[in-house]
Structures are given as C-alpha cells and as structure tokens.
Amino acid sequence: MARAVSTKQKVIWTALAWTFGLLMFFPILWTFLTSFKTEGQAIADPPVWFFFDWTLENYSAVQERSNYPKALMNSIVIAVGSTLLGIVIAVPAAWAMAFVPGKYTKDVLLWMLSTKMLPAVGVLYPLVLLAKWLGVIDSRILLVVVLMLINLPIIVWMLYTYFREIPGEILEASRMDGASLKSEIIYVLTPMALPGIASTILLNIILAWNEAFWTILLTTVNAAPLTAFIASFSAPEGLFYAKLSAASMMAIAPILIMGWFSQKQLVRGLTFGAVK
C-alpha cells in the first residue's frame, strides 16, 4: 500500500534534498566560479560570489604554462587502457567463479577484496623500485598496469555479480549447440552481460580517471595525466587558486560530461542486484 504523503511533507523533503544536493555540489560550483576570477578576487575576504569581471585569463595562462592536450591524452589512455585490460582479465575470472565455483571461490573473492583495504602507500616503495628496475617509470604502460591491478578486484566483483544473474542453462544450451568455451563467452555470455559490462567499464574509467595517488607519484612529464596536471598548479607560495581552479575544471570536465550522459547506466550498474 502506498503511504499517503502530505503536501507539507513533500515540500520539506524536497527542500532537504535540494539543500543536501547543493551542499555536495558546492565545491564544484565554487571551483567553477573561481576559475573565472582574477587571483586577487579568488582569495578576497569577504568572498566575491557572482558579481565580478568574468575573465578567461586563467584558462589561457594554464594552456600556456603546460600541455593540457598531452595530459588529457594520457588520462584517456590510462583510464580506458587500464579498464579494458582489466575487463579482458576479469571476464574469464568472473566466468569461472560464477559458473564453475570451487570450494574456495568465496574465499578467493573475499581475499581479492581485502587487497583494497591495504593502504596504497604500503606498496609504494617496492612498486617504485620494481618500476625503476624495469625502466618503465613515468610511462603510460606502467600506469595502465598499476591502475588495472588496483581496480581489478572491483571489476571482478562487479562482473561476478552480473554473471550470477545469468541462468546457467543458457550457457549449457550453447555447449550443447557446439560452442567452444571461447565461443560461449564471446557469443552468449558477453552479449547477455553487456549492460553489466558497460556499467563496470564506466565506473572503472571514472575510478581510474580520478586516481591521484599512483598517477602523481609514478609520473613526472611523459605519462603525467590530468591529476598530475592539476597538482602542478598548486604552489607553496604565491597566488595560484584561480589558475588551479581553471586547471581543475579542465581536468574534470570530460569525466563530468561522460558521467552526465551515462548516469542512467551508472545508477543501474551500482544498484544492480540490490533491487530485484
């Protein structure tokens, strides 16, 4: 039975939701506004809100001082590359765990997740040494591999949950129809799990795009993505807030736009299995 909600309640809840939403959005809004101010206005006390001389000088300054297209390209390669590599590895893994589970499958899944609880800094030293020894420091390939490894548990878990929803009989039918394991995964499992795989890809691109620990520490110039690009505008002295804001806006804009257009898919992906 639907609960009766009075108009007053509706108004209160709507107002609360908007307040909370705007509160969450405020940092982004403030960064956006600051990116169009001069450095002086950016630190003015009391703060300037909407009525100032909007300027694009920060954006052009940022462009002049550093190579935005290169950082953008690095971000794309690293985020997309690590996600796709992760998917290629995780699909067979999740297939095995979902459809031919063994005695220890649950333990393996939990163990994989437990690696996410390890503080990243704990493996910083060995990883840097290893990368140096291999001569891959400050390279895209290193970041692709490292970010893939970091997000792999999440990718496997998400795919595992989606695969579990697929009736095993359909896969058995494909086996009876003469499909090899490869054909079964390519022609039957993957198309059926496509919505789930798409959500997984989207979420992981966002996670990899926003990853700022490894991307900043393992790169200097060549492979530096947008996270490193933003960081380079923070300085111990001098005025940098407006430029930093402009750089931030330029860095988050692509992923924000992607997230906006795919929000339906993302929400479905994140709540999948929770509501059925």
Partner: protein
Amino acid sequence: MGNISLNQVTKSFGDVQVIPPLDLDIHEGEFVVFVGPSGCGKSTLLRLIAGLEDTSSGNISIDGQDATELPPAKRGLAMVFQSYALYPHMSVRKNIAFPMRMAGIDEAEQNTKIEAAAKALNLTDYLDRRPGQLSGGQRQRVAIGRAIVREPAAFLFDEPLSNLDAALRVGMRLEIMELHKKLSTTMIYVTHDQVEAMTMADKIVVLQAGVIEQVGSPLELYHTPRNKFVAGFIGSPKMNLIEGEEAAKHNATTIGIRPEHLGVSKTDGLWKGTVGVAEHLGSDTFIHVHKTGLMDMMTVRITGDIEARHGDTIYLTPDATQIHKFDANGLRIA
C-alpha cells in the same frame, strides 16, 4: 544413428552417490522416457548422457564410440531444456542458426534449414522476433527448432513441458510425438509425469534413488510391474496396495489392484466400505472409499457416471485375474 549405451555409470556429488552403478541400452530411433519422483536422478542421468555432468566412473558410448570424456559439443546430441534456455539477445532466426554457425555451415544452407524448421514448427512469422516477445509454447518450439537443425544423433528433453499450461502441454506432447515419427531419431525424454511417460514412450525407464526399477514398454509396466514401486508409480489413479490378511489369502505379502479393476455394487460384494470423495469426470468417476479395513483409502475407477454420495455404503469386488502379487521384498510373484 543414435545408439546410446551406459555401462556401469555412476555419479557422486561429494560423498553422496546419486547414481549407483547403472547399465542401460538405448537403441536407434527409440523414444525413451526416464520417469520417477523428483530427486530420483533422472535429470542427472540425462545430463550425464549430454556431457553436462562428468561421470564418476563407468562409460557412456554413442554409436559404438566411447563418449565418456567428450565435451557436450562433440557428442552430436541436442537438448531441449525445461526453461527453454533460448539466447535472449538473439532473434528466433539467430537462435535456430546458432548451432549451425558453431558448426561452420555456410549461410545459404543455414537459411534453407531455418526456413524448413520454422515451417515445420509454425514459426515462420516469428523469425525476426526476440524470445522475450514469444509465448511459452512458441519459445519451446524455437528450442526444438534449434535442436532439429543440428540433425543430432539423439534428442534429449529435460522436462520440456513443465513450464507450459495444461492445454498447451497436451498439444506440445502430440507435436513432439509427431516429430519423432517424422524424424525417427532417438529421443530421450525426462519427466516426472507418468501420463506423459505412458503416452509418449516406446520404452519407459522407471527410476528411484538413482536405481533403475524397471525398463519396458508402457503396457508391460502397466500389466506386469516388476515391484511395488513401479506398480504404485505407473497408472493413474494409483494402484491400491493391500497388505495383511487379505494378501495372505493370495500367498503374498502385498497384493495390488488397480482402481479400474474393482467392481462396485451398492448391495453386495467382497469388501464393504464407505464413500469418501467422488470425483466426476464425466467419462469416468473416481470414488475414494474409506473404512474397508484393508487400507486407509481405496480408489475405484468406474467408466461413466455413477451416483455416490459422501457416507454411502459401497461394496467392492476385485477382478480376480487382475490381482498383482508381491513378496516381502516388494518383488512381483509370477
């Protein structure tokens, strides 16, 4: 082709042996039905033949070739599942084409076969639809179409009609039998419904707890059940099984008499009882009789309609030539 033989096949899940050593021969062109109560191992047996489960020991041969270690794809069998198991992301056409695509058959030949199968199964108008847009009966026909185009050595059916409503079930049952007559391919059919088993099979395999209780034609099973279990399982309504003094009179531990072999009178007869519930089907009447002193409730089947009210006294007389006798181990006494 389509000879399948199982030789000392066993199957265990962990420590539980669901199929003790079992031998079975299925000959080319036969319609074999595996029947038994749920959990009797009939589906497991079918899945062993299909290759979807590995045998724990023993071997399975198909057309003289040892298939025990072969993956399902290489056994040349086709299966129709209870849940239809169609590929939801493919059109009906693509579903039917899938096994041919896997076999690398060229497109022109694929199309010819799809058209032929669709025509035979009344699916021509639905070829471009997705399974989700079809009714249960149509989906099952697509599953059958997908099986036919493979031209398998044998068809395996795993309770294919269980998800259909009663009216459709009878229709599909006839269609499958018709198909068998037309193709003369070996068919193995699993069901828990003994009416399906009786009407469809050339040969029925009655299973209980993984053990074959009896193999035979439907009428063999009906007339000469090898033991009490088969006697009780085959036939509807169930055979009345009477123990004690009355059985001893026939030098047996248990005697069985089918509901249709009991004569009914309101005035006199061998056994006296009280009418419980009477089920009027029009063509037949089933009367459940209490207080006979022989067993809890006896069932009588009478052709046509008869007036029987709850609480009426009724007399039953068995047809002496139709009494089945079983010994202390439940086995038939000849």
